[in-house]
Symmetry: C2
C-alpha cells in the first residue's frame, strides 16, 4: 500500500481518513431514520442538514437547492429526465456534446426515441465545443442543453459562461445542465452566478464515499422524480436517506474546499513536472489533453503500444492508471471522446489517462516517468523491416 502510486483519481479516489472515521461514528451514533418523528430521526435529519449546508456553501447556493442522490450517474439521469418529464411544452429539442459521460449520453439516446430531437455539438482537437455551432443549433424549441464541465477522459474545460451568454441571447428558456462531476471540489464553480440551472456532483471523485452524489437545482424549475416513494429530498428522491454517505460527502467537501486552491496549485505543479519529464525522457508520444485542461487529468498517447499492455506493466510497478474512462474501460472499444477530438487510431490505441490528486507527490511522478522509460522500449512494436 505504502509504495503504491495511484494515478487513476478520475475513476475514483481514496476516501480521506477523516471521512471514513466520521461515517463510522455516524453509523454508530446517528443511525435513526431521518423520517422518524423521535429524536433519533431528528438527530439524523440534523446531520443531513449540516452536510447539505456545506455543499450549498461550496457552490454559493442555498441549502434548498441541493438534492442528494446515489451518485453522479443518478444525478445526471435525474437532472435531465427530472426536468424534461414534467415540462413537455418547453420544447422537444435537446442539445448535448459528443464528449459526454455515458450517464448523459445514454439518457439522451433513450430520449431520442421518445419524441425528442437531439443535437450533439462537435468538439475541436482540444475537446472544446464551437460557439458558432452552438448558435446554429439552439432554437426556440430547445428545452435543455446538457454539457460536461471537465471532460473525464482528457480534462478539457467547456466554456460554460460563453455558452450561457449565447443561450440567453437566443432562448432564455433553455435550461442548462452541467455535469460537474470531474470539476467539483477541484475548482470553484458557482452555478447561480454562471447561470447554470442544474448541476451534477459526485462524492467519490473528491475523496468522499462511493454511492452518494447530489444535484444543484434552480428552485424556479419544475422537476419530477425518477424514483418514487416516501417523498424524501423535497419529493424528488425517495428512499431512506443514506445518512452516513451524506455525512461523508459533506466532510469530503469541507476538507476539499478548505484547501481547494492549494490542492489545485500542487496538482498543477505535478502535472507540469510530469509533462516536462515525459518530454525530456520519452519519444514518440502525443499529449492529447489540451494545455489549458484541468490539471487533474492528463491524457497521453504513446505510439506503437496498446494502452492496456502498458497499464498492466505499470501496475506491476504499483502504478495505477486508466485507459480511456474507467466506467467504459471494460468495453473493448475505442474511446468516443478521443475520436470526437480527431485523435487518429495510431494514438487512440496507446492513450493512457493519468489522473491526479493532491495525495500524489513529486517523487511518485518521477517514479512514474522512470517506469515509462523502462517499460516503453520493451513493449513497443518494432518497426517492420521492409525491403
Amino acid at each position: 500500500m505504502k509504495n503504491e502510486i495511484f494515478l487513476d483519481n478520475s475513476s475514483t479516489t481514496k476516501p480521506y481518513d477523516d471521512v471514513i472515521d466520521f461515517m463510522s461514528q455516524i453509523s454508530k451514533e446517528v443511525y435513526g431514520n431521518p423520517s422518524s418523528l423521535h429524536t433519533k430521526g431528528i438527530a439524523a435529519e440534523r446531520e443531513i442538514k449540516k452536510a447539505r449546508q456545506l455543499i450549498a456553501d461550496s457552490l454559493r447556493a442555498q441549502s434548498n437547492e441541493i438534492i442528494f442522490t446515489s451518485g453522479g450517474t443518478e444525478s445526471n439521469n435525474l437532472a435531465i429526465r427530472g426536468y424534461l418529464n414534467p415540462n413537455p411544452r418547453k420544447g422537444k429539442h435537446i442539445i448535448t456534446t459528443t464528449v459526454e459521460h455515458p450517464s448523459v449520453m445514454e439518457v439522451y439516446q433513450s430520449l431520442a426515441g421518445k419524441g425528442y430531437t437531439v443535437d450533439y455539438l462537435n468538439v475541436d482537437n482540444d475537446g472544446i465545443i464551437s460557439i458558432d455551432e452552438l448558435k446554429e443549433k439552439i432554437n426556440e424549441n430547445t428545452a435543455l442543453i446538457s454539457i460536461i464541465l471537465v471532460n473525464n477522459e482528457v480534462g478539457s474545460i467547456q466554456p460554460i459562461e460563453q455558452l450561457v451568454r449565447i443561450k440567453n441571447q437566443i432562448n432564455k428558456n433553455t435550461v442548462i445542465h452541467v455535469d460537474a462531476v470531474q470539476g467539483y471540489g477541484k475548482m470553484e464553480i458557482h452555478p447561480k452566478a454562471l447561470g447554470i440551472d442544474l448541476m451534477s456532483l459526485s462524492s467519490h471523485k473528491i475523496h468522499g464515499p462511493k454511492g452518494i452524489g447530489a444535484i444543484f437545482m434552480n428552485q424556479s424549475l419544475k422537476m419530477s422524480p425518477i424514483i418514487y416513494g416516501g417523498g424524501q429530498e423535497s419529493m424528488l428522491r425517495s428512499g431512506t436517506e443514506n445518512v452516513p454517505g451524506i455525512c461523508g460527502f459533506g466532510k469530503a467537501v469541507e476538507i476539499s474546499f478548505a484547501n481547494i486552491n492549494n490542492n489545485h496549485e500542487n496538482v498543477r505543479k505535478l502535472k507540469e513536472i510530469f509533462v516536462n519529464s515525459i518530454m525530456e525522457n520519452i519519444e514518440k508520444f502525443k499529449i492529447i489533453s489540451p494545455i489549458n485542461a484541468s490539471p487533474y487529468i492528463l491524457n497521453v498517447a504513446f505510439e506503437g503500444i496498446k494502452a492496456e499492455v502498458l497499464l498492466h506493466h505499470l501496475e506491476e510497478k504499483s502504478i495505477f492508471v486508466s485507459t480511456g474512462s474507467a466506467c467504459s474501460s471494460r468495453k473493448n472499444i475505442h474511446s468516443r471522446v478521443l475520436r470526437s477530438m480527431g485523435v487518429t487510431s495510431k494514438y487512440i490505441e496507446g492513450a493512457i489517462r493519468f489522473s491526479f490528486s493532491h495525495f500524489n507527490t513529486e517523487e511518485q511522478i518521477i517514479k512514474t516517468v522512470e517506469a515509462l522509460v523502462d517499460i516503453l522500449p520493451r513493449i513497443r512494436k518494432k518497426p517492420k523491416l521492409t525491403n
Copy 2:
C-alpha cells in the same frame, strides 16, 4: 446510548459493529473503481462478487440473479418499471394491494396515468388479501402483480405461495414482484422455489448500511434500466458501484442468516412477553397486528390518545417507536394501511408501531410496558361528563 430502547427497527436498524468495521476497512484498502482494468479495480470487483454470492446463497439463488441498487425504494421502482417498460406487449393491466409501501404505491399511481389499468387488492381485518378477489382480478392482460411480503406497518404476511399458484392457473405469464424489505433476513425466503420473479431487498433493515439494496431477478425476464450510464450491474443499474455499501450489506446478510432462526425465536418470545404484559397491565387498547404476523412488528392502538403524543412521552424515557410507517410519518395523515384493514378512527389516532430486533432484551420490553403504564393515564383524554 446504553439505556436507550430502540423499538423502531422497521424504520431502520443500528448497523452491526462488524459491518461498520468491514466498511471502514474496505473504504481504506479496497477503494478502486470496480470498472478499472488494474488490480485496484479487480480487488473491488472481487469484494462485490463475494457479497453478491452471500446474498444469492441467502435466497438459494444464483449470483447473476442479484442486482445491487441504492436501497429498497429503488429496488421497488426498478423491479416494476424495469419490467414493464421493455415489455409493453405483456399486458396493460397491473395489480397490487391497498397496503403497499409508498415506493410501490407511488409507482403504480404514476403508471395508472400512462396507459396501465391498475387494480388494488383489498385486505381483511388482518391485512391479508383475498384469494377470491385475486382470482377475479387476474386476467390474460395482467402483466404484473406487485405485493408486499411483510407489511411495514403491521407485519401481516401475505400468502405468496397461494398467490403464485392461483396466478399460474389463470395466467402463467403474469410476473410476480415481491417487496420483501421487511421480511428478508428475518425469515427464509426462497424466491425461485416460491415462483417469485422479482424481489426487493434492503440492507438497512437488517443492521446493514443505509443506501444499499438489491433485487432478485429471474434471468428469463427482459428488463431495462431506470438509471442509464456506464452499464454496471449487467446493464441494469449504472453508476460506480457503492463498494463499501455492498460489502457492508453482504456482511449484514452473513451475520443475519447465520442466526436467522435463533433471532426469529428470540424476537417471537419478546413479542409474546410484550403482548402478555400489555394485556395484564393496560386497558383500552387494541392489537392491530394479526396473531400470525411477523414477530418483528407489533402495531398496538391505545384508545383516547394521539400516537404522536405517546411517541414523544416514550422518547423522554429513551424509548423509540413509530406512529405508522417511518417514511410517511412526517405526513400528518391517517395511515392508509390501517384504514384498509378497517381500523376505525378511534384506534388509528392512537396506533403505535413497536418493531423489534434481536438486539432488544426482555428487560427493555418490561421497561417499555412500565413506561406505558406510567404515561397512558396522564395523556388519555378524560371522558366528558354530560348531563
